[in-house]
């Protein structure tokens, strides 16, 4: 019985969203093209329980992410934040190196403990963390932000690291010397801007960041912002191919002047 209402509602949303994008005053023309509406929406319009399926799969994914990024509270309480961070990183199949050690460690935490020359585990300071390719997220960074002397951090190819996570790294602004963000699909130029806090950064890898717009310009701006730092992986001449079906909004950003005019117009109309 609820089906017809739901169906109606689903359709309602579609029409609403088409009217909602900011500059998309001519969006009516694209509404005609069913391919743009998306297969999912198409199905949603017809089968109302698709919504539930999608919700459940989203929830499952979220739960898994959450579970893997939990704060290692037991380890932290017993041995302090540094060991807690080590446990976390090793659980995510990452690598660690403590101050005074020469080699990376990626096995079990007990083995790492045997290798340490310190008498007390509490005195360990992590110098380097390589957690590349893991599902560490904003919440997972809880485990790292209390590190006292982190110099090297490799976050490359982490699909859940976004601009918000980057702003959390500012806690390492006085110690961090090397940072790799290569291949993080969510990072944009907006997030890179907060790297200006890192006065001691010597090496920054920003290669292969698909969400960064105007790479050539960003490269120059990064260099200007971090004069002491060696930036790799983003070429001066790099321009991204035009994105198929780019929204009007994006195009607008490429022509900021026009966008602003529009803004002014909107107010007068």
């Amino acid at each position: 019985m609820a089906a017809p209402t739901l169906l109606r509602q689903c359709r309602g949303i579609v029409s609403l969203l088409y009217s909602s994008s900011r500059y998309n005053s001519s969006s009516t023309s694209s509404t005609a093209n069913p391919a743009k509406v998306g297969v999912l929406q198409y199905l949603c319009n017809r089968f109302y329980d698709i919504e539930t399926f999608v919700e459940v799969s989203r929830a499952l994914k979220k739960w898994n992410l959450h579970r893997n990024n939990r704060f290692c509270i037991e380890a932290c309480e017993r041995y302090g934040y540094e060991v807690g961070a080590a446990v976390f990183v090793l659980n995510l199949k990452g690598r660690i190196r403590a101050w005074g050690q020469n080699n990376w460690h990626q096995n079990s935490i007990t083995k790492w403990k045997d290798d340490l020359n310190f008498q007390r585990l509490e005195e360990v300071r992590l110098e380097a963390i390589d957690i590349s390719g893991s599902i560490i997220s904003y919440n997972g960074l809880d485990n790292l932000v209390n590190l006292k002397a982190l110099k090297y951090l490799d976050l490359s190819r982490c699909p859940n690291i976004d601009d918000w996570s980057l702003s959390r790294l500012t806690v390492f602004r006085d110690t961090l010397e090397e940072l790799s963000l290569a291949g993080c699909p969510q990072i944009t130029e907006r997030g890179l801007a907060c790297l200006h806090h890192f006065q001691n950064l010597k090496h920054l890898d920003v290669s292969d960041l698909p969400s960064v717009q105007h790479k050539g310009l960003v490269r120059i701006l990064l260099e200007e912002m971090l004069p002491q730092c060696d930036i790799v992986g983003m070429g001066y001449g790099e321009t991204e191919p035009p994105v198929e079906g780019a929204t009007n909004r994006r195009e607008m950003e490429e022509h900021p002047e026009a966008a602003i005019n529009l803004k002014a117009r909107e107010i007068h109309t």
Binding site: L17, S19, S25, E224, A264
Partner: protein, 495 residues
């Protein structure tokens, strides 16, 4: 068997998916074309033309509702969203949002022509002096971060508010340094990540700055920056509608209330009233619709004191409770956009000068925007949203060029004006029930930081309505009662 069917389905879909051939578009040409189309459309909407992009929705609002929200700005839609999200069972609360700006036409960008939400500069910060404000803004930052989890509508692209985590940088002079330090203490206690900088550190970090007269600065490290207000508004709205909120185009012109007289022990007569009907004037017609309702939320932004008056608030004799007005007024604020090719680069934060002037980067192309709140004597006329360009020349530019010398040569490219929903009593919001009109809730008076507090306020009002008390953040300090008692909830960091 199932596999076979999927394959069939896919095969069936393929040609259909390929309807549009892959092509690399010349984005600029496309853009000018789109722009032309837009201009045509905009012209069509102007008075005198009978063109409309869509048949004007004649849909009358539902005849009765549990909650009617007056004002469909970011605050109104946030309240609507949170009411639906927290309702005990799906469909338990019937919510209507009444917004008059939509009536211009349902598809044009002229919609929300005056709403402050879309005319703001989209900043979010935790650098306040009142713990409540800091908590609200921390909550909102978290909301913005997880916005796609909160506001995702199925089958639609993820919601991205384009957050710039660049932080706010407050500069303090000799007189204000002690206050700044004190505020930072409060902010840190509430969990905000703020660092203090000396002039020497400033100079080192921001070489483009002239630190004359600066004694201390505070810089937000996390959860501060700016974002796209449209996206937030639209996402809240789409989600709320997908959850079953009704939206009605029209202007609330009056309330129909029941009044009960009561006499206090001292013999003073007090009238309690309860709004029974919200009367909505339908667009482009003489039609009125009445919505029978149990609760009303006043989220009409800069115009909320008019809405309060409709309920009889502030119309009683001067020293009675019913004589206390809602002290929220529209105050015009200008925003200027300028181009300065040699201006500060990527690390430029939202800068708040010792003089109160502010500016920030807009995009990467050497564009900046900023402004200043006029002094009381300089307050401009609020009849229209015209921009005073001399104000920039005389009041804004000199201050900014002093602080950031490379702004000495710049070119103003555009400007706009919007209304602050300004609380003239203490520049803090008014949130919660009115003591005499016992089903009218306020969510207004944000005095220039309503956008960033909207997610938190929406939740707070929803808690008040559904649970009868604040659960997440206690906002009792902002109740209407403080206006009656004459106690100010003073926020020192109002920009």
């Amino acid at each position: 068997m199932f596999g076979g069917r999927t394959a069939l389905l896919l095969r069936g879909l393929r040609p259909w998916l390929r309807v549009e051939p892959r092509r690399h578009r010349d984005s600029f040409r496309d853009f000018t074309k789109e722009f032309d189309k837009f201009r045509q459309k905009a012209k069509g909407i102007l008075p005198g033309s009978d063109w409309t992009p869509l048949p004007i929705s004649r849909d009358l609002p539902p005849e009765q509702a549990d909650v009617v929200i007056v004002g469909g700005g970011v605050v109104g839609w946030s309240v609507a969203y949170w009411l639906k999200r927290n309702e005990p069972q799906s469909g338990a609360v019937r919510v209507v949002v009444v917004e008059r700006d939509l009536s211009v036409s349902c598809l044009s960008s002229a919609r929300y022509a005056k709403a402050s939400t879309v005319l703001s500069v989209g900043g979010i910060r935790q650098q306040y002096s009142m713990p409540e404000n800091i908590q609200m803004s921390l909550f909102s930052a978290n909301f913005l971060r997880l916005i796609d989890e909160y506001l995702h509508v199925i089958g639609q692209p993820p919601v991205d508010v384009q957050f710039n985590p660049s932080g706010y940088l407050f500069l303090a002079s000799d007189e204000t340094a002690a206050i700044l330090e004190e505020n930072v203490k409060v902010q840190r206690m509430e969990g905000a990540k703020v660092s203090l900088l000396s002039p020497a550190e400033l100079k080192k970090k921001y070489p483009w700055m002239n630190t004359d007269g600066v004694v201390l600065a505070s810089c937000g490290l996390e959860n501060e920056g700016w974002f796209d207000p449209w996206t937030l508004l639209n996402a809240l709205r789409s989600k709320a509608i997908s959850m079953g909120v009704y939206q009605s185009c029209g202007e609330v012109t009056s309330f129909t209330s029941d009044t009960t007289e009561m006499v206090t022990q001292d013999g003073e007569q007090i009238d309690f009233s309860r709004i029974k009907y919200v009367n909505v004037h339908m667009p482009n017609s003489t039609e009125y619709a009445s919505i029978q309702c149990s609760l009303v939320v006043n989220a009409a932004g800069a115009w909320s004191s008019k809405v309060a008056e409709m309920a009889g608030i502030g119309t009683g004799p001067p020293d009675s409770i019913s004589g206390v007005k809602l002290p929220v007024e529209p105050k015009k604020r200008y925003v200027y956009v300028w181009h300065c090719p040699d201006g500060p680069g990527l690390g430029f934060p939202m800068l708040i000068d010792t003089t109160g002037a502010y500016c920030r980067r807009e995009g990467l192309g050497g564009n900046y925007l900023g402004g200043i709140s006029p002094t009381e004597e300089e307050e401009p006329d609020i009849q229209d949203l015209e921009v005073d360009h001399e104000f920039f020349q005389e009041k804004v530019w000199p201050k900014l060029a002093h602080r950031v010398p490379c702004f000495e040569s710049l070119k103003v490219k555009s400007s706009w004006a919007g209304y602050y929903d300004y609380n003239t009593f203490d520049q803090s919001p008014v949130i919660g029930l009115h003591p005499l009109v016992d089903n009218l809730y306020f969510a207004t008076g944000f005095s220039g930081h309503g956008l960033q507090q909207a997610p938190a306020v929406g939740q707070a009002i929803a808690e008040l309505i559904l649970d009868g008390k604040y659960k997440t953040i206690d906002l009792e300090a902002f109740s209407f009662n403080r206006l009656i008692k004459g106690e100010k909830a003073l926020e020192r960091n109002v920009i």
